[in-house]
């Protein structure tokens, strides 16, 4: 890995996004629209809105970044640029971290805007700081990036890539504790939920929602999410092959 190559790769990926203003607009606007929708859905039930909006602030960046990354990486493969990059001094980690950092930065903007709107416009209340919500949301987005990079290795076409979304994201969303509290699930479902990283980020967000100060559980959960990011990136590097058939 080389800092210079990593830097120019990040700049290149951001540059590609910059030429696609519609995508940037959607990244920033879509979560805000969805939060707005939630606000009107739970009109008059502020506490329910607080809980669901808080969870969604973590879930949206995860899903959106997962999709964007898996498509972006698939495009590297199908356009031949990946093959060409592997004949240059670019390292696998330059590429993976390049995507991680570039899309992580975009996710930070997305999470900040969505959290700010939820907090200041719709008066979403959290016992803890809204900035902790942003930090956890960004960690979630980076998790989406890392899983997206990994999953793109198993997709040959865009059709396959988009279908990893329901495979990877939806079970995590269903089992994260939003629909059914995790301790009320059947034992085997709880066990599944225990190995899904999104369960921990939702728990961390709930901790911020209910405690004025950051708790030990919240820090532990955040570390677990970051551990999952590193694991997914390592697996991503292992599935990325310089030589292909």
């Amino acid at each position: 890995m080389s800092p210079r190559i990593l830097r120019s790769t990040i700049r290149r990926i951001i540059g590609q996004l910059r030429h696609d203003p519609r995508t940037i607009a959607m990244i920033v606007v879509v979560p805000v629209v969805l939060i707005t929708l939630l606000y009107f859905m739970f009109d008059g039930q502020e506490r329910v809105f607080d809980r669901i909006a808080l969870t969604m602030l973590g879930v949206f960046p995860f899903i959106i970044m997962f999709l964007i990354t898996s498509i972006a990486m698939l495009r590297e493969r199908t356009s031949g640029t990946l093959e060409r990059l592997f004949t240059t001094p670019v390292g696998k980690l330059d590429l993976l971290f390049g995507y991680g950092v570039a899309f992580g930065a975009v996710a930070a903007v997305q999470a900040t805007v969505a959290s700010a709107v939820a907090h200041w416009v719709f008066d979403m209340r959290t016992a803890g700081s809204i900035w902790l919500v942003v930090v956890i949301a960004v960690a979630n987005a980076v998790l989406g990036v890392a899983l997206g990079l990994l999953c793109s290795a198993f997709a040959r076409t865009e059709f396959q890539a988009v279908q990893f979304m329901p495979v990877v994201a939806v079970p995590q969303l269903l089992l994260c504790g939003l629909f059914v509290a995790r301790d009320q699930m059947a034992g085997w479902l709880q066990a599944v939920s225990d190995v899904l990283p999104l369960s921990y980020s939702v728990e961390a967000l709930t901790e911020v929602g209910t405690h004025p100060d950051p708790t030990g559980t919240m820090w532990r959960d955040l570390l677990i999410v970051l551990g999952a990011v590193i694991l997914a990136l390592a697996l991503g590097a292992a599935t990325l092959r310089r030589r292909t058939a």
Binding site: T87, R243, T244
Partner: protein, 241 residues
């Protein structure tokens, strides 16, 4: 003459099909070698093996004394894929600058490469909005931006204007004169005449490996197209016998 690329007993399989079956060849440093053969003959596979992105079943490919694809070679090899492999959502200049930066080179190197392929005027267009010929030239600019010692070009002149094609060949000649080893695949015979040496492959086997003059001489004709036809027939008779 010094050997820059040496392929020994190379076997490549794609699925169940054997694309190259015990392929041998040597390519000289500082020369332009033309790789000719019909579509599906194994040209691209051989080029991918030389730049180190092709999974091979057995055999060796040695480039400048190193195994193909090894880390030190990645600073010395430039590869142009058959279909343009540049970022569609970047401009030509941004693409060239990105690839230049991978070798620690700056804007000057990128602009020089764009000028060499005649793309300076259209350099600030998104690749997406370029014509097919411009897209291939943007891709070519990224392959030559580091002035590599080994330049592997898979059909670099397809769809280009004749004047430009002539200029591109002058460039390749210039690179070779500066000591670079250029391997160019093509199926345009008038281009074959501009190479120092020709490799003709068909169905994964090397049918001819000689200078254009010698290829024509051994086939007993002055026309390269006819020469290749004669050589292929002679080869088939030899195989059948």
């Amino acid at each position: 003459m010094e050997t820059a690329i040496e392929v020994r007993d190379l076997v490549v399989k794609r699925g169940k099909r054997i694309v190259l079956d015990g392929f041998d060849c040597a390519i000289h440093r500082g020369s332009i070698t033309g790789l000719l053969g019909p579509s599906g003959s194994g040209k691209t596979t051989l080029m991918r093996a030389i730049v180190g992105v092709q999974r091979v079943a057995s055999g060796t490919v040695t480039v400048l004394g190193e195994p193909a694809g090894s880390a030190p070679l990645r600073h010395k090899v430039g590869y142009l894929t058959q279909s343009p492999s540049v970022y569609n959502d970047l401009t030509g200049r941004e693409n060239a600058r990105y690839f230049a930066s991978l070798y620690g080179l700056g804007k000057a190197a990128a602009d020089e490469a764009l000028e060499a392929v005649g793309l300076l005027d259209a350099a600030d267009q998104l690749v997406l909005n370029m014509s097919g010929g411009q897209q291939s030239r943007a891709s070519l600019a990224c392959a030559i931006v580091s002035r590599p010692e080994i330049l592997v070009l898979d059909e670099p002149t397809v769809g280009q204007d004749p004047v430009l094609r002539d200029e591109l060949w002058e460039r390749f000649r210039g690179f070779a004169a500066d000591g670079a080893t250029v391997l160019v695949s093509s199926h345009v015979m008038d281009e074959a005449n501009r190479c120092d040496r020709l490799l003709l492959i068909r169905e994964g086997a090397l049918i001819a490996d000689d200078t254009p003059v010698a290829v024509k001489g051994s086939a007993g004709t002055d026309d390269l197209d006819q020469a290749f036809l004669n050589l292929i027939r002679a080869h088939e008779e030899k195989v059948a016998a």
